[in-house]
């Protein structure tokens, strides 16, 4: 078999940069030219650092793999600051539904520092096998290092399906993994099922700001990969007495190329729109930035987060991290209360997945009322305080 990575000798100037970035001591200089030895894992770090395009990776010829050799449903066990992300339970829930149709085991890939406890938690919720790499050098924000480990585990274990969260980490890490394995990846799915005789993963997702839905298959490549939109699938409940195997894998860990200087948490209670069950959003109808205090008060009274329309953010009334919609966040809370938001298509794109949408607007012809499940036509400066008052009673 031809070597998958090669040095183009007439381009190499022998600068040695590739030696410095290699985590495997797989490059040396011989006669002022880089030479790659058998320790190379084809991670690509040297390709990226070379300023002379002198190192090239020859990927496998692009055709479907032997799909029969792949079995099982695997998921990426995302975690932050020592806790499994809540999307993981939702993915386990989805995987357990798929397992009914597919009759395959559920596995999870868990990489990070001090993750043993999370491995046990995964098993308790129905994961049959956990493939774990535990090492203090694996950082929370290190897609580079994590995607390398995930790729290696997938290539070795060969699951037919690999699912991750449609979170900031998942949507950053999985595309890297898919590009390295050369398989299909479907973003931000809202529905997963098993299709027909070939038992393929049927992946349904919104596109075009939720105006259309597309169902996507990946027939010839494995694993079939998808990220799953947060807060759409039902969280798995713990399975009493479920037994699983935790396998600790000993894999080389890349040197991180990205260094974390500082993590700054924003006030959890009103900003974390991704996790919030209740969201109260304000728009242009608030008329003045200080009126966001009213929105905040209502949000606080129901334990919810504060959202905003683009108009309110562009006016500088509230930071961008609160923006819901096409150029902001996509949210799926249980209740979304839109106050003084007209409901432009771009705003609807970000919140139409909410279970219940409530609109409060003085204009009865505002488009928000066509999407809302419940509406009050009225002055929000009267309606919102009344809501706060009645909710306190």
């Amino acid at each position: 078999m031809a070597e998958p990575i090669r040095v183009i000798l007439d381009k190499c100037v022998g600068c040695g940069l590739c030696l410095k970035v290699c985590a495997y001591d797989a490059v040396s200089l011989v006669d002022k030219k880089a030479v790659i030895n058998e320790r190379c894992t084809v991670c690509g770090a040297c390709v990226g650092v070379c300023r002379y395009d002198a190192i090239e990776i020859e990927r496998r010829p692009f055709k479907g793999q032997d799909v029969e050799n792949y079995a099982g449903i695997c998921l990426f066990a995302e975690h932050r600051r020592g806790k499994l992300s809540s999307v993981v339970l939702e993915i386990i829930g989805a995987a357990r539904e798929l397992k009914k149709e597919l009759d395959r085991s559920i596995s999870a890939i868990l990489v990070g520092d001090k993750v043993q406890g999370m491995a046990e938690e995964l098993v308790a919720f129905g994961v049959d096998e956990v493939w774990m790499v535990e090492d203090p050098s694996i950082g929370d924000f290190d897609e580079d290092v994590q995607s390398d480990l995930v790729t290696k585990i997938l290539l070795e274990k060969k699951p037919e399906i690999f699912l991750g969260g449609g979170t900031i980490l998942g949507r950053s890490l999985l595309p890297r993994v898919a590009a390295r394995i050369l398989t299909g990846l479907t973003a931000d799915c809202t529905e997963l099922s098993i299709d027909g005789d070939k038992k393929l993963l049927r992946q349904t997702r919104p596109a075009f700001g939720g105006n259309i839905m597309a169902t996507i298959l990946c027939g010839g490549h494995r694993p079939q990969m998808a990220t799953v939109r947060h807060k759409v699938m039902k969280e798995a409940q713990a399975l009493a007495g479920h037994q699983g195997r935790i396998e600790k894998l000993d894999l080389p860990i890349l040197k991180p190329r990205v260094e974390v200087l500082e993590f700054v948490e924003e006030k959890m209670d009103t900003v974390n729109l991704a996790e919030a069950d209740f969201i109260v959003s304000g728009g242009r109808g608030l008329k003045d930035p200080k009126n966001f205090a009213l929105i905040e008060e209502l949000a606080r009274s129901i334990g919810g987060a504060v959202g905003a329309s683009r108009a309110a953010v562009d006016a500088g009334w509230i930071p961008y991290s609160h923006q819901v919609g096409q150029t902001g966040k996509t949210v799926n809370p249980t209740i979304y209360i839109a106050c003084g938001i007209s409901g432009a298509i771009q705003h609807l794109a970000g919140m139409k997945g909410s279970d219940i949408i409530v609109a409060i607007n003085s204009d009865p012809s505002a488009p928000i009322f066509t999407t809302a499940h419940y509406g009050i036509v009225g002055n929000l400066f009267e309606v919102v305080p009344e809501m706060i008052k009645q909710l306190k009673e």
Binding site: L182, I302, G303, T327
Partner: protein, 270 residues
Amino acid sequence: LKIVVCIKQVPDTTNVRINPETNTLMREGVDSIINPFDMYALEEGIRLREKHGGSVIALSMGPPQVESALREAISLGVDEAVLLSDRAFAGADTLATAYTLARGIRKIGKADVILMGRQAIDGDTGQVGPGVAENLGLPHITEIRKIEEIGEDKSIVVERLLEDGYVRLKTSLPVLLTVVKEINEPRLPSLKGKMAAKKAEIPVWSAADLELDTQRIGLTGSPTQVMKIFTPPRPSGGKIFEGDVQSTVAQLIAALRDAGIAIGQKKGEA
């Protein structure tokens, strides 16, 4: 600095309508625009050049008409533009697109910073950026809201938006960054820019111009297949509560509680 900004031409969704009879998306008569997130990437690229010197190159893959998006990029202040266009590229999913763009960036050569928007508003995937980085063997950081500084030593410090806050990260060039709206406020085209856009020659590179594996581009190189596209059921319209403020609010809260939502009854669980 050599900065490459990847942009995508997308239909302007402000004008997208749903055909009420067929319940399908009506794309006809819809203008094409530069993907809004890519406008922030272009602006950031231009700002980096203004601060650090160098050049900004806009790159796009798509049918010949995408040239107009690239001209617009030049009118905003980009120095050069390149279009990757070939029938063989058509039908590319995110994997094949990332591969093709990466080959284009490679041909441009020696990029220090590659910028993209966090996602395109038609596909909404956000997968191409990390995919390009992987193909180039570069690190990538998504959801950038601020580039704090680029040092003499080619180090770069950025702020990345997360679900529950943000993180400051440091890496070294070259790097691929995807940006969010918060990063800047895009400028309007200048008169000089418009003149430059009119005159600019935009090279079109076909598959034959890029060193690439033809098995990995376009439809052939795309593992995912769209099985069907449908329009989600429209909401049937909701209940509008009538009456004075006190009564409408009472009805609303009752309706929510009837729907099984413990609103205002149980606090503090977010």
